[in-house]
């Protein structure tokens, strides 16, 4: 899981996850950890998640209207879902699992 932009394969997916973070701020750090843990639990490959640092790539935040960080954007056929916060509330991530399972094989 690299703090860089868009691996091409991720964009090719019908649905994708993007985590916008703000450098090394505590919330962003926690969000990355929470997301990583969840990805592991859900057996989603971490390179399917793009991580964008708004401090180094503010234009990406501007494009996607990311004003609150950290923010996890799920975009798929069913639309766009925005999760804001450090993802400490796993309950909501469960929703995400349902959403991602459309494009990933359930384990």
């Amino acid at each position: 899981m690299e703090t860089t932009t868009s691996p091409m394969n991720s964009r090719a997916h019908a649905s994708r996850l993007t985590l916008y973070i703000a450098g090394d701020l505590p919330n962003s750090r926690r969000a990355r950890a929470h997301l990583e843990a969840w990805l592991e639990r859900a057996a989603v490959a971490s390179d399917d998640v793009e991580i964008v640092d708004v401090l180094t790539h503010p234009e990406r935040a501007a494009e996607e209207d990311i004003f609150m960080t950290p923010a996890l954007i799920f975009s798929g056929d069913s639309g766009r879902q925005v999760f804001v916060g450090d993802l400490s509330d796993g309950e909501y991530l469960g929703d995400l699992q349902v959403a991602t399972s459309d494009s990933h094989d359930r384990v």
Partner: protein, 577 residues
Amino acid sequence: MTQAAAFLRKITTGITGFDEASRGGFPAGKTSLIEGGTGCGKTVFMLQSLLQGPRARDEVCVFVAFEETPEQIRDNAQSFSWDPAALDPEGLIFIDAQPDLDLIRSGEFDIAGLLAVLEHKAVGRGATTIVFDALDRLLQLAGDQQVCIREISRLQQWLCKHELTALISSKCREAGDPITPGLGTEQLQFMLDCVVTLNHRVHEGVSHRSLRIRKYRGSGFEENLIPFIIDTDGLEVASVVRSERDGETAMSERISSGVPDLDIMLQGGYFRASSVLLTGAPGTAKTTLCGAFASAACERGDKTVFISYDSECEEIVRNLASVGIVLQPHIDSGVLAMVSMRAMQGSAESQLIAIRRLVEQHEARILVADPLSALSKVGNTSLAPSVAERLIDWAKSRDVTVMCTSLLEDSDDIVEATPLKISTIADSWLHLTYVVSAGERNRGLSIIKSRGTAHSNQVRELRLSEEGVALEEVYSAAGEVLMGTLRWERQRKEAMAARDSEVRAERDRLRLTGEAAELEAQMALMESRLDAKRQELESVRDNVAASAKEEQRRQRGTRDLRLNVRGSDGDNNKSHE
């Protein structure tokens, strides 16, 4: 020291009343809070501050909208009469920061994203001022007071770092309490440098808007509630600057009241830039005196605004023509602007602003408001006195002479003065009354006060005729001022009485002369009779004396005879003697 200077730097908003109250606008390089309930005009206030402030100076500004789309705000801005050039997208950057409708919050967040976006879009383009409209929307999402405080601090630090001036709006209740307590939005009040609360309430069906500067670090400010209105020009904030009333600026020029007799009573007329109050019951010729004053002003060439709350302008022009006051030519020539505000509703404040605007547009030197007491109509009673006072102050500061009338139903109520309580600040106060006696109503005029002028304290009779307005000389009799037929009657009666007494006196004179003559004649007669009597008495006395002498002589004769007879008896005679 330079720091102190920087601290006090301000950015003007172009909203005159607010710039005055805040002594120069919002603090530059600092963050200010504009709070208020729904529909208070927060967005309009901030928009206007941007457009007529930094945007008018061609600075780049950013408008971050948390509650409306940029299109809505742009449309909103265009509905006002502001310069559309200020809305140029190059100079005014809109950022739609409305939170996603389906946003799910999972844990704590911060606003670093917003700041990154702003840095990218605004700082890079040299923006100087940023507006955050409805920031509370974002803070509400945080749902935690500690997070709110932290994020506000983050925002402030960021703004400070980039030396940006920011305006933040947030919803609150009337007292400044947040709509949703416990979320930390109220912390904004404590953390920011300048807090302005907007207020909108409806009193007896009339809308009243006001703003109050709650705090302003490092600066003096007007602490009272300042009324304002919102119309097509945006916010118009009441001026709080009081005119200076020192003797140096007082004008000694006299201007005619339009009634020559009254000018004499006032030693030449009213002072220029003074305020004149006319009070009286309905029909006591208040409007007529206003008309005469306006007419005289127009003849001098003074631009005049005549505002009528009572009747239509045409009616006034027609009615005044019947008493020889012709206004139509002045209206035609553009010297006189007559405006009927009869249909005007709204708060006293909005009416004051309307009046001010009229006077400014017309560049008037004379303002006539008839009757100003219309300001204190339903819903305005509490605010109207200060409005009237401010109108007079404002007019004075601009060297505008004001004549206003006030309806005074009860002429005994003079202690209570006027409903607007302007009688104390008015320079001249003329009271018009009806004097009812002997089945007649006559109009009386008295000067209650006229600053700087020795004036008559007697009630004069005001007579209206086709030739115009005239004041009858004071006619007082037996401690009473008489008017109308009574005056005429009394004058006549006294003249007749005077003639009567003259005749009577002549008659008396003649009679007395006659009597005196008669007495004199009688006296002469008496005297002659007295003389006769005296003579008679004299002669009687003479006779008596003569006869007495005769008697003596006879007696002596007799004695001698006796002596002769007794001759021998000599000793006896000696003993007898």
